[in-house]
Structures are given as structure tokens and as C-alpha cells.
Amino acid sequence: MSFSTPDGSEERRIHPAGMLLAALGTVRRWIGLAAFPGIAALFNGQFGMQTLFLVLLAAALLALLSAVWGVLSWRATTYRVAGGAFHLKRGVIQKSERSLPLDRIQSVDTVRGVVQRLFGVIEVRIEAAGGGGEPEISLPALSRSAVQTLREELTSGRRASPKIPEEPAPTVLRRLSVRDLFLAGLTSGQIGIAASVVFGAWQTVNELLPSNLVERVSESILPRAFSTALLFVFAVVLFAWAFAVLGTVLAHAGFTLSRSADGKYLYIMRGLLERHEATIPLARIQAIKAVEGILRQPFGLAMLRVESAGYGTEEGVSTILFPLLPRKEVEELLRLAVPRFATSLDNLEPLPLRARRRYAFRAALPVLLISALAVFFFFWGLFAFLFVLPAALYGLFRYHVAGYGLDGDQLILRFRRLARMTVIVPRRRLQSRGYSVSPFQKRLGLATFEIEVASGSGGAAFRLADVGAETAEGLIEDLSDRSGRLSAQGSST
């Protein structure tokens, strides 16, 4: 499976299972086209032999072309590690060759999907640091030994020192228990999304099946009474809930957070059908977020996320560090996993009292405007005003949560976006800091404090509305590099 190149390194192909994976990928992309005649026929109400034949023909053609494509693209894909860089050649028609310097490699993650597990192969994802929008490299199928070799080659190039023969095993910091896994699913707050999916599926079925069948079925299930309709809604919610739990279980089963022996990397392993293994270099972590969802906060439960630079271009900007743990244990886990971010989440400074009405007003204003518009168009729009008070109350709810703190080099911001969020950022990770003042805020001597941290290939901004103007200025002053150096000197002498 390998042949030599002039500079002595080997060009290697991926595991032959890659052919199948490439073919399946193509099928997944084009399946809509094969199904198209069938769907068209369904909507026209004439699903005869002819359309069936067309669908089968399209499917067969697609399968054949995909298989050919899979073999060709497998043949065209080779990789090698040479001259301090990782090289990837690919492309059947349009040839491409990418080189990634080893010192730019951020992490080497592995994923084992269902198909990969069937063949005992592993997908390897190589993430590059920074470099704005540069896509990660993915090798869809490598054998276990090939992964081992590649990992060694990639990391030995990175470490200048001679390779340590046997790397000590990473320490496991925390495992998600089965009980917590289900708890995480039950409180995930994705019920709403799941409910709409279930409802949508029901409607699709409703439209696709012959109408009299649906009527007969629903009449037998759903007698006309109101109470049974309620029961139906209840069933949908229950079903959706089960769905949400299932999703969480699939994604987070066996979630294990561990730390390398040298303390430079965190490893995350998770997933039931698809096993994910991810590496997070500690040096790249920009901020930590503790998220307490609406359903979790009452039980004192939180999720931890990390904002990490040049990472997760695919999975959005932040990665889950741990899906569910008691709030009381957050500080402890931070101390173990990311000592630089360890700080207490309590003892934050509240916002000034005069900020209270700003929060209430800000939450109520959009509802007020919509209500006014509704009344303008029809009389019953008056009812929209009923929502103004709850909105204002939600604003107060947000006010009471909001706060800030400065613990040594750590800036801590807390605010509510439905979920209660606490963000921890060390001074050195602030890419910019500042504040903005609206005319309303100016009257009350308030300002919105704003910071930016690096995240993914861009940035993430965090804002805390309505801190005192003098507080905002003070924070900005205290967070400057100058005062950072002074305090460092002060502590060293």
C-alpha cells in the first residue's frame, strides 16, 4: 500500500474501506436525485410501475457511479509525512496537494463511525491552528496501526526533543456516569427542537399516506374529545423527550475527560455508535464557559465548555469540556483540568440597582412594540399586551443573575441568555476590551462592558450590559497589560 518518493518518505494510501466510505458519501449527497421521480409521482398521485422502474434505474445508476467514484478517489488519495510537513494528495479530476507544516498542527482527533467500526478502521482528523477558514484534513479510514504510526510521525516532528519511548498513560479526570448521562438528556432543553421534529414527521406522514387511511387511524386513536387531544400533545412531548435523551446518550455516552501526563493536552472520549476522540491543547484554551440551562440550574447542574483558538471550524466555536456536573464541583474540575482557569464562580459583584429598570425595559420593549403593531391591525391584538409583564419579569430575572468579578488574573462575567452563563477569561486571553454607552445608559451613568476572545478561526465577544460607567472604566484599567505586569512584579518581590 506504499511506494517510495525521491526524498525517501513513503506515500501511503488510506485503508480500502475508504472506497466504500467515499461511495457512501456520494450516495448520501445524490440520493435526493434518485428519489426525485418517486416523490414527483407521489405528489401527482400516480405511483405506477413506470415510476418504480425509473426510481430503481436512478438508484442503480447512482450506486454504480458512486462505486466507481469511490475506487477512483481512493486511488487518488495519498498522504505522507516528509520534510517537517504533512502532505495530502487527492482529487480524481481536479488534483490537489496540500502541505501542512507539523508545527501548525493543532490536534489529531479520531472518530469511529458505524461504518468505520464495521471494518475496524478509524477516521483521523487533523486540525490546523489559526489560518482563518482553512479546512481541516480528514482521512476517512485508517487501520489502527496506521493511526499509531501517523500519530507518532506527527508528534515526533512537533517535539524538538528526542522521542520518549513510552509515553505515560493520561490520567482520567472525570467520567460521566450512566445516571448523569440520562440526567443530561432529560435536562438538555432540546425537547423543544425534538418536539417540532416529531410534529413535523407526523405531518409529513399525514400528507404522504392516503387521506382516508390517516383519517381512519386518527379516528381510532383520537376520539373527538378534548381530553384525548391533550393526551396526544402529551404523547408528542413525551416522545420528543425520549428523542432528546436518545440524542444525548448517542453523543455523550462514556464521556471521559483525561489529561496527558505532561499536563499539556486534554483528551475527550465520547459517543455510543460513533466514538469520538478529541485533543485540546491547554495552551490554546481562550475561555471557559459554565452553562446552567433553565432545567439544570434548579438542580444545581452545569455544563462546561471551552472556547479554543483555531479549533472546531466544523463544530462551531466552542467544544464541550464536560456535559454535566454539579455546580459545586466545577471549581474542583477546573483546578484539575485547566488550572489556569481555576477560580470560584461565586462572590461576583452585582450590577448597580439603577440597572434594574434598564433590564426590565430592554426585555419588555420588543414585546411592547409588537403589541402596539398588533393593536394597530386588529382589536384582539390587545391580548399581546398580556405578555409585556412576563417579558419585564424575565428582564429582572436577567438582572439578578448578571455580575462580574476579577480574581487575580481572571475576569469572570455572568449573564443570562435563558441559560445562566459564567465566562472565565484570563487577562492574557483578552484580544480587546471596551465599553459602549447608549444615550439611555448615559443618563443613568451605565455602560455595556465588552470583551473579545479568540475562538475557532475568528473571535467571540461577550457583553455585560449596564455595569456602572465608573466600573467599566475601572475594569478596563485593571485588565491592561500594564497593571498585569505591575501585579506580577508585586507578587514576585
Binding site: 489559526g130 484580544q431 465577544a461 484599567e477 497589560d481 505586569r485
Partner: protein, 159 residues
């Protein structure tokens, strides 16, 4: 902390913003005219209501061309200090941003076709969180600001 950053943008910024404001105002005015025309010919409304779209568009145009440019210019301030860049901008909501020199990755100057005609230039400096701009500086000033930031970035890194 200082009350306001010291430096202002080049006064020609106002002219440039007037020009770009005019370019934005043209489609808005056209839309207003179309709206009034539609009201006058199609709908059964009171005659004085038909002029409302045109008046609205006119108000926005006046704002864009005559009112906003000088106000924005008066508010826009910057200062390059040894340890950080200090920016202040905004019309309704005034924003103040401080970017530490040690976080600046690189600096560019950039010039659009209109800017080139007026001899203006925009300084863009990047942190890991994205770009920050100081727009509409005289070309020479922009080059100086760029070089100074680059210089200070180097010394800040050595600290």
C-alpha cells in the same frame, strides 16, 4: 483612564462619507418615489398620504448625506499608545475599544477607489479575534500609524 483618545480622523473623511452616503441614498430615494407612485395610482388613500414614502426617503437621505458624516467624524477618535490602541466611535451608541499591542498580529493599510481619489487610507490591524479599523486617515498619517503599530507590536512582544 483618559477621557477621550486624542487623534481625529482626516477632515476629508466627512466628504468621503457624504459621497458614500449619496450612493446609499439614491436607491432609497428611488424606492420612496416608487412607493408614492404606487400609492397615488393603485391604492385608495387620502392624497396627502401619498407623499409620505417620498418624505421618509428624503429624510433618510438628508440624514445620510448631511447630518451623519460630521457627527461621526466628531465622535471618531483614536490614539496609539505604547501598550495599546485606543479607539472611540459611534453615533447613537458610543463604543470605546482598547486593543493591547501584545495581541496585534499584523497591520495593513487599505484603500478603496474613492479613498484613492481623496488621498485617504484605512489602517487595519488584526488580533486573533478579528480585524479592527481606523478608517479615513491621510495617506501619510496612515502609513505612519501602520509603521508605529508594527514597531510597538514588536517591542510589546519582547516585554
Amino acid at each position: 483612564m483618559k477621557a477621550e483618545p486624542e487623534q481625529r480622523l482626516d477632515p476629508r473623511a466627512k466628504l468621503l462619507w457624504r459621497l458614500t452616503g449619496t450612493l446609499q441614498a439614491v436607491p432609497i430615494l428611488a424606492g420612496g418615489l416608487l412607493g408614492s407612485y404606487a400609492l397615488a395610482t393603485q391604492a385608495d388613500v387620502l392624497p396627502y398620504l401619498t407623499v409620505l414614502p417620498v418624505l421618509g426617503a428624503l429624510a433618510v437621505a438628508v440624514l445620510l448625506v448631511f447630518v451623519l458624516p460630521p457627527l461621526l467624524w466628531r465622535r471618531w477618535r483614536y490614539e496609539i499608545r505604547p501598550l495599546e490602541v485606543d479607539l472611540q466611535r459611534g453615533f447613537v451608541r458610543v463604543t470605546r475599544t482598547l486593543v493591547p499591542m501584545a495581541r496585534v498580529q499584523h497591520v495593513d493599510t487599505r484603500r478603496g477607489p474613492l479613498q484613492r481619489r481623496l488621498g485617504l487610507s484605512t489602517v487595519v490591524f488584526y488580533t486573533a479575534a478579528g480585524p479592527n479599523e481606523i478608517p479615513q486617515l491621510a495617506q501619510k498619517t496612515a502609513a505612519e500609524v501602520r509603521d508605529r503599530i508594527a514597531e510597538l507590536t514588536r517591542t510589546a512582544d519582547e516585554l
